[in-house]
């Protein structure tokens, strides 16, 4: 295969990854890393670098649209970014001492978890009964629009949420994915933030988290221009197409189908990791 052909096929694959990532809200990385390693037999370290860059492109592109709608809670995002960026740097640090097989296995596990998260019951409405002192001091309580009305919500479990976000950051830095599923888990289940707010705020945070570890990976040579170029362009175009489709499609069935595909990929990654093929 020539570099020209490799680039064109990867461009098409990255487009699909961006499309699926934006339709399901999981981001491009979860499809991109199995695609690069299982289909193109690219070393997982290059895949991690490329996926980080794609996460930043995805997050920044979508954040522009979400901020306009006024759902994102910038204060919650900023406060938790202390946790995710610290975690991301730790993740990038321990990546050097982690074998590629272990990275593949961990990736598979996180993938299975993300698949389960896409089909679980969502925390549609916020909680308004919390009287967390910390949430008040940090001004995390806010309101968000539902059918044109502003509905207030109060945040709880600030400490637990912060701890889980540090873990999300470590996973993100180690595996090169946005780890949106972990972020949403922290905000939904622990901090009881309404689903709409937690998804957009998580997206808001992914770019900053990924940038913290990506600068380390760039210096380490994990980000190769020959892979980064088709990946960034493809994922961006795919995510853009996905956000257009999202308004017209019923994504419920699609999410179910997607979680099955992801689970299959996850098992393949774990298998290849265990047998030392990755």
């Amino acid at each position: 295969m020539s570099i020209l052909l490799f680039t064109l096929i990867l461009l098409a694959g990255a487009f699909m990854a961006g499309l699926l990532g934006s339709l399901t809200g999981l981001g491009g990385g979860v499809v991109l890393i199995p695609l690069l390693t299982l289909v193109f037999h690219v070393d997982i370290r290059y895949a991690v670098g490329a996926s980080l860059v794609a996460s930043i492109a995805n997050s920044s592109g979508a954040a522009a649209a979400y901020i306009r709608e006024g759902i994102t809670n910038v204060r919650i995002g900023m406060f938790l970014e202390i946790a995710t960026t610290t975690g991301a740097i730790i993740g990038a640090l321990i990546a050097v001492y982690t074998s590629t097989s272990l990275v593949a296995i961990l990736f598979g596990v996180v993938l299975l978890f993300s698949a389960a998260m896409t089909i679980r019951k969502k925390n549609e409405h916020g909680d308004n009964t919390s009287n967390s002192k910390l949430a008040q001091v940090l001004k995390l309580n806010s309101s968000y629009p539902v059918n044109g009305e502003m509905v207030p919500y109060k945040v709880r479990g600030v400490g637990g949420g912060y701890a889980l976000m540090t873990l999300a950051g470590i996973v993100s830095g180690l595996l090169g994915i946005g780890s949106g599923a972990l972020k949403v888990l922290a905000m939904d289940n622990v901090m009881r933030i309404p689903f709409k707010v937690s998804t957009t705020t998580s997206n808001f945070m992914i770019g900053v988290t990924a940038a913290a570890s990506a600068v380390v990976y760039l210096q380490r040579g994990y980000i190769d221009p020959g892979i980064a170029m088709p990946v960034v362009l493809g994922v961006l175009a795919g995510a853009f197409a996905g956000s257009r489709l999202l308004m017209k499609l019923d994504v419920k069935k699609l999410r179910l189908l997607f979680s099955i595909v992801i689970s299959a990929l996850a098992i393949q990654m774990i298998y290849n990791g265990l047998t030392g093929k990755l």
Binding site: M1, M78, S213, L218, Q219
Partner: protein, 132 residues
């Protein structure tokens, strides 16, 4: 530009819209640069065989800014793509810097501190040499 320094601009939600636009422009700029670099790269290397199944790391000159700038000056495709990547990495970091200003205008000292802390963590990761 004058609007950028008016009090009203920072107090209203306009500042969030401005940040949103800044993010979008960052992404667009970086993809245009990567696209141009990609064309040049494919013209000079398109017929080579990719060797990504073994990890050797990206060429050393595209791992740091001075090397990337030298490459761009030579019209090297790989260096131009990597400049696009750097612009993309800088986009969310610039966003944080703007947020410091936004919170300062709102006189929210606590969040100026929190945002500065996030910014310094990222700056630490750039200059710490962790990537060695």
């Amino acid at each position: 530009m004058k609007r950028l320094f008016s009090k009203e601009f920072w107090q209203e939600r306009d500042v969030e819209m401005f940040i949103g636009k800044q993010l979008r422009w960052g992404v667009i700029t970086s993809s245009i640069i990567a696209f141009i670099g990609g064309i040049i790269y494919l013209f000079s290397h398109g017929s080579d065989t990719p060797a990504y199944h073994v990890f050797n790391g990206a060429p050393v000159y595209v791992r740091h800014l001075p090397g990337i700038f030298h490459g761009v000056a030579r019209g090297d495709g790989m260096a131009i793509i990597q400049l696009g990547v750097v612009v993309l990495l800088a986009t969310p970091i610039t966003r944080i810097a703007f947020s410091v200003l936004a919170f300062a205008m709102e006189k929210d000292k606590l969040y100026v501190m929190i945002t500065l802390l996030v910014l310094s963590i990222i700056i630490f990761s750039i200059f710490s040499g962790l990537g060695g």
